[in-house]
């Protein structure tokens, strides 16, 4: 495989998968810029390993794992500089918004995700946005299935009071 072929194939791969990975990054980071940085860092690593057989076999799976790994590693690096969000503050903030305004309700989804720890958010994104099974999520994150279930349950318990009022109001 020549360098040009490799770059062309990689470009096609990014076009085919970029939106999906970027959206996952957006849900994980809650910020467009961080999502772009995360997506770019992910694709750079994928390209650096592009000729490896396991990347060629399933590049999307490789990219997804890389994205999660980069995200969690980076979050741990920055953990000391970021403060956890108090869910009470979030609830107060969300109630201030006009719940009939769809854009405001959309903001609340990302705001609510920000209340979760990085691994919990990753579990939520994989399980409920990507529709990955518990087994697949455990493999992607390198944790046990029990840990996936525990984190998912805890995340749902934390998200429910933040998101359900809007759903009830809209229905």
């Amino acid at each position: 495989m020549t360098g040009i072929d490799s770059a062309d194939e990689f470009g096609e791969f990014v076009h085919a998968t970029g939106a999906r990975l970027y959206r996952a990054a957006l849900l994980l980071t809650g910020d467009h810029f961080l999502a772009e940085d995360l997506t770019q860092a992910t694709y750079a690593k994928v390209f650096a390993a592009w000729r490896r057989s396991r990347v060629v076999d399933n590049p999307l799976a490789y990219a997804r794992k890389t994205l999660l790994h980069v995200y969690i590693s980076h979050r741990r690096l920055r953990r000391n500089t970021e403060q956890a969000i108090n869910p009470d503050d979030l609830a107060e903030l969300s109630l201030d918004r006009d719940v009939a305004d769809d854009s405001a309700a959309r903001i609340d989804v990302l705001a609510a995700l920000a209340a979760l720890s990085a691994p919990d958010r990753a579990v939520v994104v994989l399980r409920y946005w990507e529709d990955r099974s518990v087994t697949e999520t455990a493999l992607d994150l390198g944790i046990t299935e029990v840990a996936v279930r525990t984190r998912a349950r805890r995340a749902l318990q934390r998200l429910r009071p933040l998101l359900e009022p809007h759903e009830r109001t809209r229905s």
Binding site: A7, F10, G11, V14, H15, G18, A19, Y22, R23, L26, L27, D31, H32, F33, A35, E36, Q40, A41, Y43, A44, K45, V46, F47, A48, R52, R54, Y62, K65, L68, H69, V70, I72, S73, R76, L77, R79, N80, T81, E82, Q83, I85, L93, D96, V109, L110, A114, P119, V125, Y128, W129, D131, L141, G142, I143, A152, R153, L156, L159, L163, E164
Partner: protein
């Protein structure tokens, strides 16, 4: 999982999909920058591999000399310096995108399959206790921060030691706080300013003018912590002192 949880998880899945359904990256920029960054990673990895081989060969050589009888060793072992050289331990931090996830902090480059699971990665940089106890020592483990071209001089604001990014679209990151606000200032290539502005989320971000080869982006560290989105990022930009 209870029926309530099942029902709510369905609602959550729909909400998540709706939230990001109209979000797309800038594909051309993403491909070009990923190719550029990925190529640099490849070269760096090859260089590291060559260095590791050279170090191994040197180690074998030294071990061979040390195993010689004392009389023979005296003729062959070179003199060593009598005292160590002073090391520059100025405040610095560096994220090396080329290191493997299980070797240290920062972005990993090894395959996820090779890397340790995220739950068990040992990341010394990310330990709040370690950072509090010896930030300079940890920061310098990976190299100097270099000559960061900007600092924030604004009453009431303090900044943590800058983080140097070896690879990626940005070069330095500064986290600065006052009593109740927190921003991330990122120094980026001037050439990327237009692209960055085109994708900007106006609620929580600001781009400085170009200063030499760089410009800075100022982002509220977490926009959802700030109910008032009229956060005056321009005032922070005015406090940036460029070299």
């Amino acid at each position: 999982m209870s029926n309530d949880d099942d029902e709510f998880s369905g609602v959550l899945g729909i909400a998540l999909r709706e939230r990001v359904s109209d979000s797309y990256p800038d594909f051309d920029h993403l491909i070009a920058s990923s190719l550029r960054q990925g190529t640099r990673l490849r070269k760096r990895r090859r260089a590291g591999f060559a260095l590791a081989i050279a170090a191994s060969v040197a180690g074998i050589g030294v071990a061979g000399v040390l195993l010689l009888p004392t009389a023979q060793r005296a003729d062959k072992v070179p003199d060593y310096a009598s005292s160590p050289r002073p090391t520059d331990t100025s405040s610095c931090a560096l994220i090396d995108d080329t290191r493997s996830p299980d070797s240290d902090a920062g972005y990993g480059t090894e395959s996820p399959q090779e890397a340790a699971a995220p739950e068990v990665i040992d990341l010394p940089h990310s330990s709040p206790e370690l950072l509090r106890s010896d930030p300079a020592g940890l920061a310098c483990r990976n190299g100097p921060v270099g000559d960061i071209p900007v600092r924030l001089d604004l009453p009431g604001w303090t900044c943590e030691p800058p983080i140097r990014r070896v690879e990626g679209p940005s070069h330095w990151m500064l986290t600065c706080t006052d009593s109740d606000r927190r921003v991330t200032i990122t120094v980026r290539d001037a050439a990327e300013r237009e692209t960055w502005i085109a994708a900007a989320d106006r609620h929580s971000a600001f781009a400085s003018e170009v200063h030499g080869e760089f410009f800075a982006t100022i982002v509220i560290a977490n926009p959802y912590q700030v109910p008032n989105l009229d956060f005056d990022l321009a005032a922070i930009d005015a406090g940036l002192i460029w070299k």
